[in-house]
């Protein structure tokens, strides 16, 4: 176990809700509809719920497995020893780093396509990453603060879902449950990229003041995310035709486009801009987790690691170009994340439970 975290650095249990939600709601929510409909078509909202239940199970595992002041690195070290455990930890750090990179790259791609086709990724990236540095440098308290505000302030965007309902065809959703379980499961697998990132819980766990009380809030956080995702997918399904939605890359943005108010039109500009406030917690929390991991594993100075990692993120963002490559990378990372969350973590849980039982019986 590392140095115990002082009480003043810890966060109230209910803030875990915002941590979980803010890291799950990201760029994915602007585009996930077209991917989930591939297998389950308009029954896909059920897949969203199934994927959400999966997340609930993992969260439950997390709170079962971790004890106060303990994170995943402790467990891995205990189980697999310093080197193998360290290697697993290192892979997780890299994974969060890539997750952070891809979040920014996906967002910049949207900006390039919808707002500024000729924007310089370098300058925008620098401007954005200095902001990220400023957040992480303030410590976990500020990271949580930005997660909280990054969830609360953009809630107003949910009201924009009312506008597309004017053109809704509710019979799109009918008949319900006309797809096989396999299709539903395949669709829910597609959902994972959007739900990823909550595994940062395994790293920030020691920062929670009363982990037992936080358990329910973590579940509420996932529940809130599911409700938001289901609502957005429903609205998209009633708004778009089934064939159309498969060809649209960002269905949510398309819906914003039709919003007309007396003083504002083309709402997507405002929506995409406001989305910066959603991406920011996404990036900072994953990057914080990644650098925190490096600190736990190699005792690196976190301030310095953040700078190095931010430079890596910036370079990667400038180098990755073109929609194909970006979506390929995001697909890879979501596959890695899928296996990590749904296979590795339950595996770890089982091994750790057995290990504890054996140790106790001795």
């Amino acid at each position: 176990m590392g140095k115990p975290i002082s009480d003043s650095m810890k966060i109230s249990p209910f803030l875990v809700l915002f941590l979980i939600t803010s890291v799950q709601v990201g760029v994915g929510i602007l585009s996930f509809q077209s991917k989930v409909v591939e297998h389950a078509s308009y029954d896909a909202w059920i897949s969203v719920i199934i994927a959400g239940i999966g997340v609930h199970i993992i969260i439950w595992i997390a709170f079962k497995m971790l004890r106060q002041d303990q994170d995943i690195f402790d467990i891995q070290k205990e189980l697999f020893g310093k080197y193998l455990g360290g290697l697993f930890g290192f892979i997780q750090c890299l994974y969060f780093l890539v997750l952070s990179t891809i979040a920014l790259r996906l967002y910049i791609e949207i900006i390039q396509v919808w707002m500024f086709p000729h924007i310089s990724i370098l300058y925008l990236g620098i401007f954005f990453l200095i902001l990220v540095y400023y957040v992480i440098n303030g410590g976990f308290r500020v990271v949580v603060g930005i997660c909280f505000l990054g969830t609360v302030i953009p809630i107003y965007l949910l009201f924009t879902l009312i506008f597309p309902l004017e053109f809704a065809h509710f019979h799109n959703l009918l008949p319900v449950l006309n797809h096989s379980v396999k299709d539903l499961m395949l669709s829910s697998k597609e959902m994972t990229l959007s739900f990823l990132g909550f595994s940062t819980l395994f790293i920030f766990f020691p920062f929670i003041k009363h982990p037992k009380k936080a358990h329910k809030w973590a579940h509420f956080g996932v529940l809130f995310t599911i409700v938001v995702y289901v609502a957005i997918s429903m609205v998209a399904f009633v708004f778009y035709d089934e064939e159309q939605i498969k060809t649209v890359i960002w269905p949510t943005l398309g819906m914003w486009k039709i919003i007309e108010m007396p003083f504002v039109e083309r709402f997507e500009y405002i929506g995409i801009s406001s989305w910066a406030l959603v991406i920011l917690p996404n990036m900072t929390l994953t990057l914080w987790a990644s650098t925190r991991g490096m600190k736990r594993l190699f005792r690196f100075n976190q301030r310095k690691t953040v700078i190095v990692f931010l430079i890596i993120v910036l370079i990667a963002n400038v180098l990755i170009n073109g929609h194909e490559r970006i979506s390929l990378l995001s697909e890879y990372i979501s596959r890695v994340g899928f296996y990590m969350v749904y296979f590795y973590i339950p595996f770890l849980f089982i091994v750790y439970t057995i290990y504890n039982k054996v140790r106790k019986s001795k």
């Binding site: 966060i11 109230s12 400023y134 603060g145 995409i272």
Partner: protein
Amino acid sequence: MKLFGKKNKKNKSNSLKQPNNIVELIDMCKTSSDFMHYEHSIKKQTIWLSFYKSLVDTEILHKDILENLQEYKHYSLEELKESIPVEKVLTTKDVEQMQNRMLRGYILLRLDEYDQKGLLINAPLKKTRNVSVPEVEFSVIGPKEAFLESIDTNLNLVRNRLPIPELMVKELKVGKLTKSKVAVLYIDGVANEENVNTVIQRIKEIDIDHLVDSSYITQIISDNPKSPFPQLLDTERPDRASAVLTEGKIVIMAAGSPHALIAPANLTEFFSSFEDYFLNPVIASAFRIIRFFSVVFSILVTPIYVATLTYHYELIPKDLMGTLITSREVVPLPPILEAIFLELTIELLREAGARLPTKVGQTIGIVGGIVIGTASVEAGLTSNVLLIIIALAALASFTTPVYQMGNTIRLIRFPFIFVAYLFGMLGVVLSFCYLIVHLLRLTSLGRPFFEPIYPPRLKDMKDSIIRFPFSRNTQRPVQLQTEQTERYSKRDATKKKDIDE
């Protein structure tokens, strides 16, 4: 290092001459023309008096001191002491004490010119103005008293409102040359001890040669002195000072300053006027919400104008576009220059108005506002729409009840405008993120400054953006971590009688 003048100059300026004995002391003081040192003969004896005539009230000297000494001859200082009916009289040999006391308006009285021992009599001259109406934090209803430059009067104003023995006043001296009195006020048993100690500790550590106003203290003891946001609230109202003391806050007063400081502060307090407490909670809350939105409006409206007109004119509906086009048709400048030009004009007007005497200042406001505004629109330098927007933004920024915060709000919009020009709407949001993160990082005496918004504390929300009735505000703010959290019993305050009882 030489470039910045950081050479070792230690102790050069600090070492003022210290006299070794009384003769040296008198000689040293005599070099200043306002120092009086003479033999005074009264009916039956002669005495030696030494004092600064600029610090001593001669009326006290003549009426209270000299007149009482005339009756009979005194042989010792003790006898003299008994005859003088002044509350602070002390006999001493200590040269340093004599010097310090004489500089505070004491008279040194001795029987002989070369006596080592002397009597120090308190007879300070106090010239202060009378208690007047608060001008910075004016309120239509409610008390009409304001703090003064005299710390004793200020303490009196507060203690009159809080006649309890728990009200503690800790006096400290700050400033090597000014030796200003600084008082830290708190209610013992209510205020968090850690906070009190932090304040006292930080004030003790102040190393400065002069302290003329409490704003010096704000700048020195703030957690982040580089931030444009004031982290200690200043007030000139004794009623506000006593009200926050009961909440468990700490009030700092400095001699010579008509503003007291309140610590720890949080962001929402800077947008609440004390008059809010004199109004019905519904109305007060409505005004607070208006103020809150006006601040957001004031910061964001010009950047949004610049962003929209530079990059996203698609945002504007067709009908509105017509109005904008007719207004901007003849303007040759890009929106950013237009906005900066007008914003600077408003800042100029404000600054000129603030520096000039009141009567001229008003004229400047009218001349500037009407003449320059109309002329620049007619000349085609700016558009009508922007003129309206900027005037509104300026007006909105003046709704902030705390002057220091008003300044901050007006200034932080300039970076917003520049970034809006670079990245459009995205720039506005990103600058807003910078602002939020900055606020999140700020602390006031180590307590979060952005509270109760973050960390979210519903209990403290009851008196932040909206104000709940007194009967619902029964707890002291969580932010202060007070020793007694309950102010009064909630059950009694909210007890309801049954119908027709």
